[in-house]
Amino acid sequence: MYSVKQPPKRLVHRGSLQADQRLQRLAGLAISLIFTIPIVFVFFWMISMSFKTQVEISSPTPSLIPLQPTTAWYGDLLARTPFARYFLNSLIVGVASTGLGLLIGLPAAYAIARWKLKQAATIVLITRIVPAIAYLIPWFILAKQLGISDSLFLITLLHLTVTLPLIVWIMIGFFEGLPAELEQAAEVDGCNVWQTFFLIAIPLVQPGMVAAGILAAISSWNNFLFAAVLGGPNSQTLPVVIYNLLSFEQANWGPLAAGATLVCLPIVAATLFFQRYLVEGLTSGAVKG
């Protein structure tokens, strides 16, 4: 269903018998299950726990499926924490930091790809190396100077330090993949650099933009540290709220599992919907050499 560019070439012997083939296919499925069962199980357990009653949760012999399913933890969570508001916060920050990241990142990636700025590409890589903690105090001071402490704007800017390099990194790969003749032709026709960028390059890398955008949005959604340390009552995001549940609830697994499920839900949905782009984004830059 998804594959990178084209279906992989078959490497098995062409003349194999049909029965042989079927056996091979079953074997492939069986081996792949070794990998996917543990993956699925963690999600399954998270969801299962979130619907169990306290008695079932603390039982020393856990049951796989809730015997008396309850939605009480979800109700509890939504009633006691302004979950909807934090959800909205996360959404706003995710969309804004992705949008801004694309706005600034696309021209940057284009320039790096087109004029082969190797140094610039290395700088982008370095942003990934800087421990996030190094950002905390300088940004806090900056936020106070600008009067934007405890605002979604601040968190958006902070997340931009994650989304922007990611977008640039992925988009370099896509812009490099464009045939140079197209741009040269455009310039012969009298387009300036910006016109070439907007009219020729951008429409051609739209799949890349979706890939970069969706990955950036997910990394913003998942980011914990920035909002945990620099967010306030008006700018808390979901991962922080979920983490706080652990300290507030401690051994109370029901609300924790319900919270974790609610945070992961939008991402799982987005993954299923955009999986082809996701794969392209995640593997961008890996196969060109």
Binding site: T36, I104, R128, L246, T271
Partner: protein, 277 residues
């Protein structure tokens, strides 16, 4: 171009600020202003046993976790590269750990690894084995974190390796088969070398991210029990925000940054010389 400037500013300002701090004796709770004291903090770090232990732990955790992920990731990619019914579903499912919120996943593992009510120990007991303390045991906490990190990031390695496999040329395989090579020889002598450039990218990213892993450890153990899972990142975090020793903590930030940068540069250089050069 302005975008590049933004990136440079965003990166260099905090780094330079941290570098400057690392040369001061800034302690938050000292009423007097911080003074420049030169490389004193770095000298302390070199003799601070807790810092050195944290460094060792960071290197071991990263080495083991990334090693396991690379091997499993390649095996997983080889499997997913075969044709079989349900393949696309299997591939889709393998994507989920990469994108799932690390803090949420950490909490789910906390639940599963609970020694008395967790499913892991229930499973062990069902097989007639004694339960483990998982993240609550000094000897089991690092392996437990390796499990969590491996669960979350093996699919990433798989994905990149899969992308590499899909662009493999066919000729070497055909000539190898004519020469009568077996499956293992083909994998070892053809597939793997052809995959190296791709795997390199996965390795680089995994090393960088695991060396500075924070969210998962912070959410699951906060460096405990005792200091049994305290990595450099966790230690410098408590230095700064619980002991308020900003100057000293900054020196560890710079040290960690330099370490990761050095590893990344060495890897990149090695790759240029040996794989492409």
């Amino acid at each position: 171009m302005p975008a590049l400037l933004v990136i440079v500013l965003v990166v260099s300002f905090p780094l330079l600020y941290t570098l400057w701090q690392s040369l001061t004796d800034w302690v938050l709770t000292n009423p007097r202003p911080a003074q420049l004291i030169g490389p004193v903090n770095y000298i302390e770090a070199a003799t601070d046993q807790r810092a050195l232990e944290a460094l060792l732990r960071t290197v071991i955790l990263t080495g083991v976790a990334v090693g396991v992920q690379m091997v499993l990731g390649v095996l997983m990619a080889l499997t997913m590269n075969q044709y079989f019914s349900g393949r696309s579903l299997m591939r889709t499912l393998s994507l989920l750990p990469i994108v799932a919120t690390p803090v949420a996943i950490a909490l789910v593992f906390v639940i599963m690894m609970n020694p008395s009510s967790g499913i892991f120990n229930a499973g062990l007991r069902a097989m007639g084995l004694p339960g483990l303390n998982w993240i609550y045991g000094q000897d089991t906490v690092l392996p437990s974190l390796v499990i969590v990190d491996t669960w979350q990031w093996t699919p990433f390695v798989m994905l990149i390796a899969l992308a590499g496999l899909s662009t493999m040329p066919r000729e070497p395989y055909e000539s190898a088969r004519i020469d009568g090579a077996n499956a293992w020889q083909i994998f070892w002598n053809i597939t793997l070398p052809l995959l190296y450039p791709t795997l390199f990218v996965a390795l680089l990213f995994r090393l960088i991210d695991t060396l500075k892993l924070f969210d998962t450890i912070y959410a699951m153990t906060q460096g405990g029990p005792g200091t049994a899972s305290e990595t450099v990142n966790l230690y410098l975090y408590s230095l700064g925000f619980t002991y308020f020793r900003m100057g000293y903590a900054s020196s560890l930030v710079i040290a960690l940054f330099s370490l990761i940068l050095a590893i990344a540069l060495v890897l990149i250089k090695y790759r240029r010389q040996n794989v492409l050069g």
